[in-house]
Each structure stands twice: as C-alpha cells, then as structure tokens.
Symmetry: C2
Subunit: 597 residues, 2 copies
Amino acid sequence: MAQYKAPLRDLQFVRDEMLNATAFFENTELWSEATSELAEAINTECAKFSEETLLPLNAIGDTQGCTWNDGDVTTPAGFKEAFAQYVEGGWPSMEGSPDYGGQNLPKTLTLPVNEFIGTANWSWSMYPGLSQGAIHTITDHGTEDQKQVYLTKLIEGAWTGTMCLTEPHCGSDLGLLRTKAEPQADGSYAITGTKIFISSGEHDMSGNIVHIVLARLPDAPAGTKGISLFIVPKFLPNDSGEASQRNDLSCGSLEEKMGIHGNATCVMNFDGAKGFLIGPENRGLNCMFTFMNTARIGTAIQGLAHTEFSYQNSLAYAEERLQMRSMSGPKNPNGNADPIIIHPDVRRMLLTQKAFAEGGRMLITYIAFISDQMHLAEGEEKAHLDDRLGLLTPIAKAFMTEVGFESANLGMQIFGGHGFIKEWGLEQNVRDCRISMLYEGTTGIQSLDLLGRKILATQGKPLTSFMTEINEFCLAHQDQEAVKPYIETLKAKVKEWGEITFEIGGKALNNPEEINAACVDYLMYSGYVCYAYFWAKAVAIASDNLSASDNDKDFYEAKIYTAQYFYERLLPRTESLKTTMLSGVENVLNEKVNPFV
Amino acid sequence: MAQYKAPLRDLQFVRDEMLNATAFFENTELWSEATSELAEAINTECAKFSEETLLPLNAIGDTQGCTWNDGDVTTPAGFKEAFAQYVEGGWPSMEGSPDYGGQNLPKTLTLPVNEFIGTANWSWSMYPGLSQGAIHTITDHGTEDQKQVYLTKLIEGAWTGTMCLTEPHCGSDLGLLRTKAEPQADGSYAITGTKIFISSGEHDMSGNIVHIVLARLPDAPAGTKGISLFIVPKFLPNDSGEASQRNDLSCGSLEEKMGIHGNATCVMNFDGAKGFLIGPENRGLNCMFTFMNTARIGTAIQGLAHTEFSYQNSLAYAEERLQMRSMSGPKNPNGNADPIIIHPDVRRMLLTQKAFAEGGRMLITYIAFISDQMHLAEGEEKAHLDDRLGLLTPIAKAFMTEVGFESANLGMQIFGGHGFIKEWGLEQNVRDCRISMLYEGTTGIQSLDLLGRKILATQGKPLTSFMTEINEFCLAHQDQEAVKPYIETLKAKVKEWGEITFEIGGKALNNPEEINAACVDYLMYSGYVCYAYFWAKAVAIASDNLSASDNDKDFYEAKIYTAQYFYERLLPRTESLKTTMLSGVENVLNEKVNPFV
C-alpha cells in the first residue's frame, strides 16, 4: 500500500526559518492573523485529511476512473464524499475575499494545502484546483454582479470551475481558436464550439460547474487579439443566485488517457450556451492569463507532489527490501541480505528525489511569498515583484515537472520489477506525473516564454534583479564557514547564467530561431541555478541553527548533506546544458539538409 | 492510428556498408549462403508481417490484455493467429541448428527480425522472444536427448519457452532463491516453489511451454553456487516427443502492470513438478547466463524498438500538425499556422530520437556481428570476442533502454496534450518501454556488471581492446576531411574514458563502494562514447559514398547531419556525467549523517 506523511517540519523550515514569512505577515494589516501557529494548524489539519481521506482514494481513482453516461459523469467511489468533507472543512474558502465568504489567507499559507492534497491524490485535487483558477479570474476581472453570484458559490465550494481553452486544432497556438460568441439581446452571448481536454469539465461532486471559456466575437480580429473571455455556467443562476435552468452545453465524451484517471478530462460541446463576458472584449487572453498563471503554479506543485510521493514510498521500500550485500561488508549480518538502502546507487536515487522535493518546496514557497508581497505592494515595487513572478513561473512549471517525472521514475526504479506492478502505486505515480510536462503549456512553451518573452524581450531586467538578490545573499554569507564552498560555486554559476543569456541574446539578434533552439536547455539550466540558490540558503540557516543548539540536529545535518549532494551530483548537469544550448541552431535547422529522410 | 515502416535502408547501411557483414559471411563455410540478397529478402518479408499483421494488434493487446481463468491464460484477440502465421512462415527456426530443424542463420541476419516485430508489437514479440533464450540455453547446455525432444519443438515453434528466475523475495540477488529440486528415482527432479514475473509463463498460443527454471538441490551450498538449472515442461513429452501428461505446475495469477499488457506476466507455482537437470549440478546460474545474455540483448533491442516507434510516429505528427509560426517568418503561408516540424525545439526532440535509434541500430548490429564472428573463432580470438561481447552487453542493455525511455517520452512530448491520450499509441509506447530498464537486470545491475565485473575485475582488458579498435579507426580516418572534426572529439573522449576508469579504479582500491556510487553515470558515459564511435564510422562511410556518386545523396547527407547533431547535442552529456561520477561516494554514503531523517 502506498504511504504518505505530509512534510510538516520541512514546510515550517521553509516558511518560517528561510523566508520568515509569518513574521512578515504579522506586521501587516491585512494578514496580521497569519501566524506561525495558524499555519501549523492548517497544515496539521490538512495533513490529516490528505493522509486519511485522500490517499486511500488514490489507487481507487486510478482503477475505477470516471464514467460517462449520456453526458453525465460519475467520479470514482469516495471522490464525491471526500469533496463534501473538503467543503465542510472550509478548505475552498481559504483564498477568496471576505466580501464573498473567503478567508483571504496569504498564498504562502494556502500553497501547502495544494501540495498535501495533491501528493495524496493528484486526480482528486484537480477538482478544487481548477476552482481556484476560476476564483482568481473572476476576482481580478469579473463585475460586481458576477462576483456576487459566482465567487460566492465557488468560494463556498458549492460550485466548481473549469478553464476552457483548447480546441481540437489548437493547443499551444490559441490564436487559431474558433469557438464563437454571438451577442444576444439580453446582453449575454451565445457560445458555440467544441473544447477538448477540459479537466473537471463534468462531474457529480458539485451543484454547478462554472466554465471560463475563450471564444471569438463575430467582428473580432484574427489571432490572439480577437479572443474574449466568458463565464458559461452548466446551470444558469436564477434571481436568487442558485443553479437553475440547464445551459446548452454538455460533456460529449471523456478522454482515455495514460493517467490521472480519477479526473474527468472532457470534450465539452457548447451549443449556443448562454455566456457572460468577463473583462473587456477581445482582451480575453490577457484575462485568461490570471487563470493560466494559477494553473502553472498548480502544475509546478504537481511536479513537487509526485516527487514527494515517489521519495517517501521508495525510501520506505529501500529500508525494508533485502537484496545483495554491501560492497564494504554485511550491514545486516543477521538477515540473509542487506536492505537495499545501503547501496550507494540506491542512495543516489533517493537523494536525487529528496534534493528535488525539498528544492521544489523552497522555490514554490518563495514564489507564493513573492506573490503575497506583491499583493501588498504598489507602484514600482509591485512591478518589480510581478517581474520576479513572471520570471520564476515558467521555471517552476517546467523544471519542477521535468525533475518530478525524473523523480517518479527513480522511485519506481528503486522497486525494480515490483515498481512496474500496480500494487505499489509507483507506476501510477509515473503515469499521473507525465501529463504535468504537457498541460498548461508544455516544457517547450514555458521555455520560450522564459527565454523569449521574460528575458530577452525585457533586456533581461527581471533576471538581473533576481541575480542581484542572489549575489547579495552570497556577499552576506561569504564568511560563514559552512556556506563558503557553496557560495563560491553559486557565484560562478550566476555569473555564467548571465554570460550565457548574453551570448544567446546576441545570437538571436542575427537569427531569432536561436531562441527556440536553446530554450529548453536554458530553462533547465536556470532551474538548477535557482535550486542552487535555495540550497545555499538552506545551508546558511541549518548551519546557524546547528551552532546555536542541538535542537533538530538530525534535520539540519540532513539538510546540509542534501545540499552537498545537490551541488556535487545535480548542479553539474549545467555543464552539459551550457555546451548544448550554445551549440547553435545549425545542428537542428539547416536549410541545406533534410535530416528526416 | 500508429504507423510503422521497418527501416530497411538503414539496416542495409549498417550491415553491408558499415560492417561488411554479408561479404564476410559469404567467405565462410558455415554461412556462405547468408548473402546480402538473403538478408534483404528476410527483412522485406519480416517488414511486411510486422507492419501488416503485428502493428494493428499492438493497441488491441494493450486494451484487452491477457485474461486468467482457473490457470488458463487467454491472449488478446489476434495474438494466437499471428503466432500461427509466424510459425507458418518458418520464423522460429531462423537461428537453431539444422540438426533440430533450424536454419542456422547468423545473428546479424536474425536480429532485424527481432527489431521489426518488437517495434510493431513489443508485447507479442516477447512470446517468440523468450523461446529464443530457451533455444540458446538448451543448445549450449542440454543433453542430446533434451535437444531431440525440446529443441526440435522450440525451433519448429510448436512449443514456446520461458525463463524462471525471480521469486517474491529475490530479484537481483539470485543467491537467495528457495525453489527446491528433489531428486527422484527415475533421474528426474521434483520442483517446488513459486516464481514471479514470468513473461509468457502461460498462454494459448502454443502446444506446450518449456520452463527453464532455477532451483536448489537438497544438499546445495547456500548462495549462487548452489543453484541448478532445470527444464520443466507444462506438458511432459511422451515417448514420441509429443506433449502428453500435464505437469504439476500452474499459473497462479497474472500481474497487473503499467504496460506490456499483451504479454502474460505470470506467477508460476511449481508443486512437485517433474523437471530435468540441464547442465551440471550447482552450476545452474552459469548455464542460465546463456539465457540472460540473450534476454539482455533482446531488451536492448526493446530500447531501440520503442525509440524507432516513437521517432516515426512523432515525425509524422510533426509534419502534419499546424501550430504557431516560425520565428523566422511563415513557412506555410497558405495555412493558418506552420507545421510544428519547423520549430527548432521540435526538431531537437526528433533528432534526439533519430540519433538514438540509428546509433542503437549500429551498436546492436555490431554486437550481433561480433557474436557471429565468435561462433566461428577459436582459442584466443574467441576469448577476445567473448570479452568484447561481455563488455558491450550491459552497455547495450542499460544505455539503449534508458535512451529508449527518453526517446519514447520525447515522441510523446511532440504530441503535446494529445500524446497523453490513448488514441495515438505514444503513451502506450512510454508504458511498454518503462519495463525495459527494470527487467533482465536493472540499469544499476548492468552498471555494476560493467564497471565492477567486466572492467575493474579484469584490469580493464576488454575496455582497452575496444579502445584500441576505436583508436585504430581514428588513425585510419584522421585525414578524411569530413570525418576530421569527429575524430578529434572521439579521440579525446576515448582518452578521457580511460582516465576516468583509471581514477575510479584507484578510488575503489581504498573503498569498493566507490564502484557502486559511480557505476550508473559511468555506464551512461560509456554508452555515449560507444555511439560516438559508430556515428564517426557512419560519417566516414557516408562521406565516401557522397564523393563517389549521387546515389542516395539525401540518405547520406542526413546521416552526416545526424552525426553532427549527436556530437554537438548529445555527446556533451558526458561532461556532466564525468563530474558527477568522479564526485565520490561521500556525498551518497557517509556514516556520520543519515540524510533520510
């Protein structure tokens, strides 16, 4: 049976020892109640729900999947009841505004909830997960009326949300989308078209489903500048805001897919469904970016979730499974073999997962905290933090899912042939994880966003500012004995990151295809350097705490050791990435040769 | 729908232009009939069978899987009929000795058959695939009587074979195995025990199943030196050699697994089943190595098969799918977007697959040819070739499956979200491929075999001899203009390979755990250098042929271009691997710290 214990101690370390987040919140007007105690209470309660209620449903969700019957979708046994329990516990309301029933907690405190429920059962977590994106989108772009009707219900958890972008012929390239929105006499729009890959598009867990849909007005310009955004509910709200008349939309079928079977991936047919414009006409894609950014952070957490699941389960197996003797003599002389955790290669696979899990937790919590600070900031400071978010979002989304998939596979590898068998949950973890590099923008799309839009198009401004933060950290800690070796490497890597960026930027002036040819290696390189920054910070804190007292000695020693592992065994991957990304576009695109004959 | 065209031209290139294999065979007494024409005839016929009969059954096999009913196993619809067709075509007899009905073809000619059928339908190909191992094992270690009875039937394809090693508590560590073999008055043995993960252990495709089983005699020493090997048929042969009385063994259940659903992965219960000793008592593991080496080469081919399948299908999709415009201006101005194959990052993913597919084909065909030469050789020359095989087998098995899995995932990535959907066959390809890094010895086990047993335990003898061959090639071609840049890199890499080996060997003298800590990175490094050798050879031949005539100009230009891609984008991965494998055991195993608290 799969196991999972929420990493409470590690979250406390990141939130309060590394970021000093709750100390910061306590000094703000808005979040003075977001104390460390509150954070711990939330995490403890959510851990319980995740471990006890959601984890046992994870394999069931995979085995049963969702079933379609004439447009209705039934979720796996227990999913609906777990959702009722989640609503009962007030979890959907954590983030929304108090004006609509929300608790308005900072993201730094709500993100761990997403991690815990996602690690225990990713497919289930996508039902409330999509609602969060709908909440953010309506909060940022909706009218007061829309907020009164839809936000209230979404925040309560009575209704759930979806994001309807993709059509059969357009995924990455939304400019091609065809779904029509025709203005009606009553100010609403008739939405007609087919959307595919709609996660949680139809199900039996909530009283209504609020579809956030991209569509084109009749006179809209071609391409991405002619797309508008609409709220299209499954049931139209009546005057008292309750779900009432059925709208003209339906789930045509469910996709059969590799994993996340517990989540309904729907083909949604809109047949003149009544929709309501959200945000300005033809600016729908801009409004949808609110949703997409939420979804990207959510997917980054998915990478972390599968890494943590894989790590915990393969660690437990490695401690139990007896096979072969240690090369330096028996470690379990009374058994007929040693536990496989004593083999260096098994430890390598475990430490890789651990370094990626804890590194991911540091990055994503840092991002959440930046987002919270941004919420309070104004003017230049707000713009600066927004830039930082824009820089780190594609890195988190793509890097955390790529190393998440690597981790999921390493965990399975530790099980040997047993990892391939359904019983242990490791193969499901690999299958469920695989979608994370595809949806919400593939790794390639995130990489283009990072290198093209976020860095080169801004002359590297957000990158320079982030590098300044890292260099300031290096300067502040360069005399701290335990951190020194890491600081030196980190400084050199940051310098190299800048040089590489400059070099690719220069090449791109001559041939913009250089960006496309280098971008994925560049993103992966950037991810390793980001993690190196956080791992160095972790060493600085851990070594300080070790000098101060004997409390949690094992925890801090393991932190420092894992940092060493990251610097010596994972960060060096940047060496090859540097070489390959600078090797130029000619070896992939050369008009004189067709390599694919 | 998935597609597949067997790579006939590329095989011809490797077999006759690179290895000059059929020219060599024509000058031997044993294989004078193994001409290029015969090879082409076999390949063309097998291509037809694979493309037309096996490919359409691939998705069916995945969807239906095998079903168990009171010990009987039913294979997916069409599998049995395809096997009958395969037997009818005489395919099972390609390799066996003419004394028992075999055609005795060299492996260089039979290996492509394994590749083609495996690429079209890996799960199906495992039924005849396991028989090949049984044929080799009985050929090498069986008595004349055993050959008359079992070989004849296996070579005819009337019966199939299995390999029964694993037990619930022992996989990599066969020394722990418990299955008992008790001598009986009639000279046979009563075999009792449970074997798991037995591929093709029970099915409905053949008249009998010949299990090759590892078990312990009552007085056997503990560990691997007390294991003997037995033939244990499902039905005992009667005096005329026909399947007759049912033996006391049965399939207890089928495993539910991530992929290869079309193949029956069985729990086999032996309840005092009648078995016949094969080879000497207590030397069973040595005899089983014949089977295991066949299976390892077979699994290396699996890596190639999934790479080729992924490449062909993602190439076709990339040529059709319209999405986004080229960064350097529209390439398909009449369409509303460009085909995604024009994007450098998509080309990078395609070229990676292509370089791994063609590189794998060169390595595996080279191995087959070495094996054939060994069959003809004697004395020192035979030992020398055996060493070469021993060196390259773990590299081929682990490297080709690791890059096979990478390739399968890249192919899926090119499909974006559509890759996650069952319809296209790419997600099945990923799931089917995943087992290849686990069974027949995990990547870790292969790596230990390579670095520990094959290299360090022999003071590097087989490695030195292989390096000499590479250096001789470099010397012979260093003035050939087109090859020059590759030669320089290759020479440097080979030198570095030797230095790294020497350095790890030195460290291992102080602490043998260094081998375990470095081995996987070392194996992957070795794989890249091997492929670099073959890619340089490919350039030498292609550039010669380009100078000679305009025939197949596109083919040769694409070869050279793919070599350039390999050298500039894939071989540099050795840089990071070098750093990490030399980083030492301390960062994974340090008695003072427990990193897993």
